[in-house]
């Protein structure tokens, strides 16, 4: 296997002296191969040890340590991002437009947020006969994104600068001003890793705003973060332009209910089976997330105040 890896080659050190050459060469090649074999064996050991995740990986302490060292480093390096961002902006738009754009974006974000949730809130309020008093107000811990995985890794994960010291734990919902970002999958004292909804490993329960039908939103793994949406009820048909919000998990982990996910852009019938798959454009652009909020606090249950009944 290793026969072709270490072909004899000239080295400046060894070729300096002719007597060394005869004995030195093979030894050097042997040492080189030994190093390669050792390194490859070390890699395989690591992969095997870390692959059985259910048993608790021995690599975890290493990850903890790495996060402890690199978390602050990434945090510092992110501060150096401002000039980089500015440079990028300068290419894209003129300074004069920037302030105006910023203001419009802010307005737009607010209006979109209102629009996305009002439908759902109204529907839900009618559906539950006004049992739900108000849209649940969650306690949020703000955090900044300090590290993003490249497309080469195929996984859509980001690091945020809040960890267990800030009350962030695994399986907490992460969102920003426009919608659902993902959930926390790993935490250390000062950092947390967030699995974005666009990752192929991610599945979120989603509800159609217009018809309240339930379904599942799964990531497609592409750069824009496009999502697939499958309805539980095969007869229900999503329409282009329908909005999707989370329907929440039991105990609010990993997802709290009522967070906007995205909008349906196209619907294709499933081949060979009932039902249809919709393509969702997420509200959150996965390449542009910066400040996010982690849902850390109550209500643990949606508020259910008893209705003052007149009849009984």
């Amino acid at each position: 296997m290793l026969k072709d890896l270490g072909t004899p080659a000239r080295s400046a050190i060894r070729s300096a002296g002719a007597p060394l050459r005869a004995t030195g060469m093979p030894r050097q090649i042997r040492r080189r191969r030994t190093v390669l074999v050792l390194v490859i064996l070390a890699c395989f050991t690591l992969i095997v040890l870390d692959a059985r995740r259910s048993a608790g990986s021995p690599v975890e302490p290493l990850r903890e340590a790495a996060a402890g060292v690199f978390g602050p480093l990434e945090s510092t390096a992110s501060s150096a991002r401002q000039p980089v961002d500015n440079l990028r902006d300068r290419f894209a738009e003129m300074d004069r437009l920037k302030a105006e754009n910023e203001k419009l974006k802010q307005d737009n974000e607010n209006l979109t947020q209102e629009l996305n949730t009002s439908d759902y809130a109204r529907n839900r309020a009618q559906e539950l006969d006004k049992l739900l008093k108000v849209a649940p107000a969650y306690t949020m811990t703000p955090a900044r994104v300090i590290g993003i995985g490249g497309a080469q890794t195929f996984s859509h994960t980001v690091t945020i600068d809040a960890g267990t010291a800030d009350g962030v734990h695994t399986d907490m919902t992460v969102m920003n001003g426009t919608g659902l970002v993902g959930r926390v999958v790993r935490t250390t004292a000062g950092t947390a890793t967030v699995l974005l909804i666009g990752d192929r490993n991610s599945t979120v329960g989603g509800r159609l705003n217009s018809s309240m039908a339930l379904g599942f939103v799964s990531g497609r793994g592409d750069v824009a973060g496009t999502l697939d949406y499958k309805l539980v009820d095969p007869k229900a048909r999503p329409k282009v332009g329908d909005r999707i919000v989370t329907w929440g998990s039991s105990g609010n982990a990993p997802y709290v209910p009522g967070v906007p996910i995205g909008v349906v852009t196209s619907v294709t019938p499933n081949e060979g089976s009932l039902g249809s798959t919709a393509t969702i454009k997420p509200y959150v652009d996965p390449t542009r997330i910066d400040t996010v909020g982690v849902v850390t606090g109550p209500p643990a249950r949606p508020p259910r105040a008893p209705l003052p009944g007149k009849g009984n």
Partner: protein, 176 residues
């Protein structure tokens, strides 16, 4: 001298991993970032040979595997970068005893990107990682290779120059 060299190499790798995960992702092209760690590994391999390439690749890859945004099985980038570093070291030894020319460096970087990205994806497939998407492989490899060559133009001469400065005089190469 050897301790200084190892310290410098470790410093380069740490800076590369930090910058790659937190700064370079903001200027990603279609989501693909510049593999700064790979470039540093190749630079170390080109200046010190295959053993250094393999070990630097292992350490740099391991950092990429465990530093926060990573959520895949540890050891995958380590294996990919170790082999890429080893191959880069062999190229330097085989072409000539003198320094590798700019075109040679660029080709080494392209080869290193291809080898490392392929090994990373292949190990992912073997481990049944659902996120590996071979349909996207070609496009991302193309972008990554181009981007890495651009990054290498800046990084490789710098790293090789610094590593050359801390080389003992008896090992210093005479230009052909």
């Amino acid at each position: 001298m050897i301790a200084l060299r190892i310290g410098l190499a470790a410093l380069f790798l740490m800076v590369a991993v930090t910058v790659q995960t937190s700064v370079l992702t903001n200027i990603a092209v279609a989501g693909v970032t510049c593999d700064l760690t790979l470039i540093v590994v190749i630079a170390l391999a080109l200046s010190r040979g295959p053993e250094w390439g393999a070990i630097a690749g292992f350490v740099g890859g391991l950092l990429l595997d465990v530093v926060p945004p990573a959520d895949h099985t540890a050891g995958r980038w380590a294996l990919a970068l170790a082999i890429a570093g080893y191959v880069a070291g062999l190229i330097r030894r085989e072409t000539s005893s003198g320094p590798v020319g700019p075109l040679g460096v660029a080709l080494t970087v392209v080869l290193g990107t291809a080898v490392s990205f392929f090994i990373y994806s292949a190990t992912g497939s073997l481990l049944h990682d659902p996120s590996v998407d071979w349909g996207e492989f070609g496009v991302r490899l193309g972008i990554a290779a181009g981007y890495d060559v651009v990054g290498a133009i800046v990084v490789i001469p710098l790293v090789m120059w610094i590593m050359g400065r801390v080389q003992p005089a008896r090992e210093r190469r005479v230009a052909p």
